[in-house]
Symmetry: C2
Subunit: 79 residues, 2 copies
């Protein structure tokens, strides 16, 4: 069972890496670009047939390793 996980910085946390990408794009002529924020993305494949159990496992992975809950949020979706 495959899930996608996106980890994003909470909205009040500064994102210097995203700002550099944003400025680079703007310098390349993308004048309509208003804001850009960067995050992390994972595709997780779990050996588990029960969707609820599999999702709980992914949730546990996010909390233990993939996301830093002090500054980041995460979202899990089934693929």
């Amino acid at each position: 069972m495959k899930f996608s996980v996106t980890v994003t910085l909470k909205k009040d946390v500064l994102d210097p890496q995203g700002k550099v990408v944003q400025q680079t794009l703007q310098n390349m002529g993308m004048k309509t670009l208003k804001d850009l924020r960067q995050g992390k993305y994972f595709e997780v494949d779990i050996n588990e047939n029960d969707e609820k159990l599999a999702k709980d496992k992914v949730d546990e992975m996010c909390k233990k390793l993939l996301a830093n809950l002090i500054i980041e949020d995460f979202k899990i979706s089934k693929l």
Copy 2:
């Protein structure tokens, strides 16, 4: 208008960074984890009311900077 962009490695491209995350999770006891691949995630805000034009702009950003089309695929979704 906000879009999310996910950039993932093509399936035949090795993902050493993802492998390290996978092995770490497995060493932490996640025995049901079969595979994990890492990608990039961006949230892009565009000053443009026409959805088609805005999406074309994001597509251009991906092709010019955000993704390396030789080894990566990208997907754009409206938020």
